[in-house]
């Protein structure tokens, strides 16, 4: 029990961020018109590509002669970048079509 309580107070900053972000996420999306659901899903998909930062850290920390760690990090960087770049480009392509016609 004390373990868990001390863990909570040690990580209270992070816990605050998590809770506030949950509310921000819900609030920000709450009033979206249904026409934008697909682009929004795609945009959110690109944003969680931020996981690539973790991949870069893993890659950068790996010992240069530890090939298993290098391979895992390298693959993670490729996949994460795919998520980020592909996600933003696809979203942009969808939204390009919503331009107001003159």
């Amino acid at each position: 029990m004390e373990n868990i309580l001390s863990w909570i107070s040690l990580n209270q900053q992070v816990i605050y961020i998590v809770i506030l972000m949950i509310f921000v996420g819900i609030e920000v999306i709450g009033r979206v018109p249904s026409v934008l659901h697909t682009p929004l899903m795609s945009g959110a998909n690109a944003i969680h590509g931020v996981v690539v930062i973790g991949a870069i850290i893993v890659m950068g920390k790996a010992e240069p002669n530890d090939y298993l760690a290098l391979a895992m990090g390298f693959l993670a960087v490729i996949l994460g970048t795919l998520n980020v770049v592909g996600g933003f480009v696809v979203t942009d392509r969808m939204l390009e079509m919503f331009k107001k016609k003159k």
């Binding site: 819900i26 998909n45 969680h48 931020v50 996981v51 950068g60 240069p64 390009e96």
Partner: protein, 477 residues
């Protein structure tokens, strides 16, 4: 100094994610919002590469990092540029799967890192080295990431028809057992000594993989948007686990933001279809009704067909025409020719609008994207509530490959499985022309009374072909 700048980078990135998501929720600012979030992402990525420090050491292996970034960028940009508009949902699913795999790999690499650092003392208990909180984030990242990865790949396969639905009796119980096994293995790892952690950790991944497969397999192809949206929020949570692990605020905010927003979006999608999330996940929709529906088909009432020439005539002399596009239009890729028909009718002085049901097409909002691709102006697209007010004064409704979203049973038959789903009330208009390929029931597997009403006439054929012929006929008048 440099770590202060990095903190600032992450702060700016987090703000751009929130701002970007907010702007994405408004048609006028959506594109800018996407670009702002992308700029924030670039800042966070390059900030990490050049400024990140751990215990005073900078990151190494620059060649590998930039190699990976380059490959990912080229592959991502090319595939995103080349994909057809109708295949967009599949593409989003694939990219989501890549993110999930990335999160799972990070957890695996971090786990391996711990193992390598302590393998000299194999008899030490794993629990003495790693705190519960850290371990939970590693394990959760691995589990959620793996489920999201394989689930997204299967969702992609289902959307393009490569993977068929599959379910067996008692599957829900099997799923629960496998989920329990995943958690049991996770606890097993934590109870082991360093020497023995390898096998249970691999088993976590193995069972999570199986769970992901069984989770998506029984869910019908038309429900995939909901599943993709759900897996999207899963990946967000997996990314947040990574943020927790590295105490990285950009990953944490981005991940949780997507996790929360994705969950809400999933619920909104379910609501538009009048189904609970649980119902979608169990995949029982239509299961019991399909048999009943096939009996009904043989006992169906009388419907009348309309010739192309007549349909063209009716539409050319109408004041107001409303087009109701559905899945059939998306499948036939008939959005361009549909716009052409709209213009030809416009030239004849007919007012043409589009009524868009929230779940028309393959994904909520997908129909709008398709029509926007075909240059249909944004203010001609009416949302359901607006359209339902306008139907009363509409002369002709042309339904293109939509079925369940115009089924009056949702309003007046409490026994119907779609009862309560908000629909487009097309029967309020004077005439209804329905274009379908055949009299087969729609996705929900139920009969549609609308087709047998006196004011309804059927125009059979592939949406694209029919529209081409209609255009020619209308021009000739």
């Amino acid at each position: 100094m440099s770590e202060y700048i990095l903190t600032l980078c992450y702060l700016v990135a987090s703000v751009t994610f929130i701002l970007g998501l907010k702007m994405l929720a408004n048609p006028a600012s959506a594109r800018k919002g996407n670009l702002i979030a992308a700029a924030g992402m670039a800042l966070a990525i390059f900030g990490t590469i050049f400024l990140y420090q751990e215990e005073g050491f900078k990151l190494g292996n620059y060649a590998w990092i930039f190699g990976g970034l380059l490959i990912g960028t080229i592959a991502g940009a090319v595939s995103a540029k080349k994909v057809k508009m109708t295949a967009m949902p599949e593409m989003v699913s694939i990219f989501n799967g890549m993110g999930g795999a990335c999160a799972a790999l990070i957890s695996a690499a971090e786990f391996y890192h711990i193992y390598e650092a302590h393998k000299a003392t194999p008899e030490i208990a794993f629990a003495d080295i790693v705190s519960v909180g850290t371990y939970i984030t590693i394990a959760a990242g691995a589990i959620i990431g793996t489920i999201s990865y394989i689930g997204s790949i299967l969702a992609w396969g289902k959307l393009n028809g490569r993977v068929k639905d599959y379910s067996f009796k008692g599957q829900h119980i099997v799923n629960l057992v496998i989920l329990a096994l995943v958690i049991a293995c996770a606890i097993w790892v934590y109870q082991s000594t360093i020497a023995d952690i390898y096998i249970p950790f691999l088993l976590i991944g193995f069972f999570a993989f199986i769970y992901g497969v069984l989770f998506v397999m029984p869910i019908g192809g038309a429900d995939m948007p909901v599943v993709i949206s759900l897996l999207n929020s899963f990946t967000g949570v997996a990314a947040a686990c990574g943020g927790f692990l590295y105490n990285n605020k950009a990953m944490l905010t981005g991940g949780i933001l997507v996790g929360a927003a994705g969950t809400l979006l999933t619920i909104l999608m379910c609501k538009a279809m009048n189904r609970s999330l649980l119902n979608v996940l169990i995949g029982s929709f239509g299961g019991g009704n399909k048999a009943a529906a096939s009996v009904e088909v043989s006992a169906q009432g009388h419907y009348k067909e309309i010739s192309l020439a007549d349909a063209a005539m009716v539409m050319s002399y109408a004041n107001k025409v409303m087009i109701v596009p559905g899945y059939g239009l998306a499948v036939a890729q008939a959005q361009h020719i549909c716009h052409e028909l709209e213009e030809i009718l416009n030239d004849k002085g007919v007012e043409v609008n589009y009524a868009i049901h929230p779940v028309a097409g393959r994904m909520p909002g997908h129909m709008n994207v398709l029509l926007a691709e075909a240059d249909v102006s944004y203010d001609k697209l009416m949302e359901m509530e607006t359209a339902n007010d306008v139907f009363k004064t509409t002369d002709v409704v042309l339904i293109l490959g939509a079925n369940d979203v115009v089924n009056p049973a949702a309003k007046n038959d409490p026994a119907s499985p779609i009862y309560g789903m908000p629909i487009l009330e097309v029967e309020l208009s004077k005439t209804v022309i329905v274009n379908k390929r055949s009299m087969k029931p729609g996705y929900a597997g139920i009969e549609n009374d609308l087709f047998f009403q006196p004011k309804t006439s059927m125009l059979f054929g592939d949406a694209k072909k029919v529209l081409q012929d209609l255009c020619a006929e209308v021009k000739a008048i």
